[in-house]
């Protein structure tokens, strides 16, 4: 074997092993390649509306979407509902939809609650928490701000107030 051949082989073998190292490190850091990320398209789904037909995320193409995951047992969710409703009222004619995804509760539990807070934006029932898992929801409330072309602009975990919503909504209005 001549010298340059030997070097090529060594470079090739070491290079391959370096790729293996990078791949191993990358995959040990990025544990969940399917997680929803800012800048990526929000995964499409379809759920039953409270007192309404099924609604798919793709139906809302062309509109800015505020996707809010919540539950009746969650105090910050309760506090944030009026703010969401208020912003919905203000921007719905400008192409904004607020969608509340309720996590794993029954109609009977959700309906009076929604009425009590005077919410009239669409509420979807994720009765088996399937979409909650798809969006990798940890602590709630978690809110996704989705642009008219269906990309996630921002993910916010925690309670939002009107000013924060208004500021974030301004980025996703069509």
């Amino acid at each position: 074997m001549n010298k340059s051949n030997r070097t090529y082989i060594r470079v090739a073998v070491l290079g391959l092993l370096l790729v293996a190292l990078v791949f191993a490190l990358y995959s040990s850091f990025v544990k969940d390649p399917n997680a929803v990320k800012v800048g990526k398209a929000a995964p499409n789904f379809s759920l039953q509306q409270l007192n309404g037909p099924d609604m798919a995320l793709s139906d809302l193409k062309g509109k800015g979407v505020v996707l809010n995951f919540w539950g009746t047992w969650c105090e910050p969710c309760k506090k944030e509902l009026p703010a969401l409703q208020q912003q919905y009222d203000q921007f719905k004619d400008k192409g904004l939809v607020v969608v509340g995804v309720n996590i794993g509760e029954s109609t009977v539990a959700v309906e009076p609650f929604v009425k009590q807070f005077g919410v009239n934006f669409p509420i979807l029932l994720d009765s088996q928490s399937q979409i909650t898992k798809l969006y990798r929801i940890g602590p709630i409330p978690t809110t996704f701000f989705i642009s008219p072309d269906g990309d996630v602009e921002e993910i916010f975990i925690g309670q939002l107030n009107e000013a924060m919503i208004a500021q974030k909504v301004s980025k996703i209005l069509p």
Binding site: A24, S27, P33, N44, F45, D54, A109, P112, G138
Partner: protein, 542 residues
Amino acid sequence: MDQRKCECGHTNPIGTLLCESCGKPLDIEIEEQTAFPDMRYEGMARRSQTYTKKVIDRVWNWFSSVKIAIGIIIVILIGSAVGTIFPQQQYIPVPVPTEADVARFYTETYGKLGTIYYELGFHNLYSSWWFVTLLVMLGTSLVICSLDRVIPLYKALKKPRLNQHKSFLKGQKLFAEGPMPEGAKQDELLANAAQVLRKKGYRIFSTDRALMAEKGRFSRWGPYTNHIGLILFLIGVLMRSIPGFFMDEYVWVREGQTVAIPDTPYYVKNVSYHTEYWSESEMPEKLDLKGGVIPKSFQTDAILYLNKNADLPGAKPDLIEVKSGPIVVNHPMEHESLYLYQSGVQEMQLGALNFNLIDQKNGNKELGLIKVDLYDPPKEQDLGNGIKVRTLDYFPDFIMGADGKPATQTNLPKNPMVALEIIADNGKISEKMVYLQGSVITQKTDPQFGLVIRKPDLIDITGLNVRKDKAVPLIYFGSFIFMIGVAMGFFWQHRRIWVQFQEDDVMLAGHTNKNWFGLRREVDGLIEQTKLPLTVEEKSKA
């Protein structure tokens, strides 16, 4: 390339210790056997040891060193041990932990040391960057060490050394030399020896004045075979990170419920769950269990469905059954590469509340059964005779909120509160009542209707682990190759015996890579049967 010429005329590559042709040690004229080069790679030049100019060569040589390989092994060993001092995060009893919960767990349970452990990231040691790097380095070392050694060894073993230089024979651990016995013939002696050795399973190579017997050469490939197995194993482990190769999900399924398995087009239904316990008559010995019981089996009867409408998550599924049967610990349900394991259970959980509606003004006459499914309470039920029951409000895990209003703590029916409205006589009568914590409170002081609480429906919720691991066949295959390699290397030995006539002397030498005791016995047997006037000296090599 620099070449080195041996006195026999053969030119050897640089780094060669024993001449490739005649086996004479180069460089050192050996008088003492301790200076005799090692037989490990048959004295061949290992490329790695010879060039150190370029960076790439330096890196290569670094990984090619067995010393470094052992170093890596030891560091991995110590690192692994450190990871068992306190439990890893995956084994701590904190359900769905946040980082703060995890930190608190280590501090509260293990004190200051726990805090340090957590701060250093040892709670996730085995997936830390440095541990993963070490494992890849071990893999690198395996590849390079093997490549570097297997080629020269192959070259050396391909041409058996028959006529060896005297100093080569002398250098062997087993060596004997003596004068030719009176009246003996060289070729007869050689033929005789060949016969004896052939019976012992040796392969014979001979000329008119020399003989080499060899057996178990393949055992020299053992180390490389097992290293290939390990490399395959490590590739398998790495492959699990490729999307689609590995999946690990957990689903809780109530009896009667059908749920979607995340990240797959499958649904699973829990038809029924039951735990069996060992009865006393089945036990081989009377045991004092202090009132406890020993479980015999955890079983979920399940049906696996494929959702034809899986493209859109959450949409109404279109299910077709693909498999049904029991899922028992140690016997998962298997469908293509998907496996469902019985792995947890919550038994006797509240599933539905049952009431008897009675007419208190009519001798407590039973009017019908009211069932409130706690996972999906009916909005309205019709009991007949113009009586309807509406569910007004439902709090699955009741708590009195800070604002004085009822609220729920979770979405699980742990402490349900239900508000019902009984409507009768075409809406003329409407009475409201509330069930909470085993009692019924009525709105009116003198109501017509009453609720008698019946035994609630108790259900079992089974925990199923759903996994997919397409790398497993490769991992098993790698392990299998590894075992073959170690067995080759450790259960067989490469033995060689040389018999040569030089001038009027007969010389005998033996070499093995292990089990000198066994070789010694064979050589002694050979001398005895051929009646060679030799005594074997066994030199100890320090």
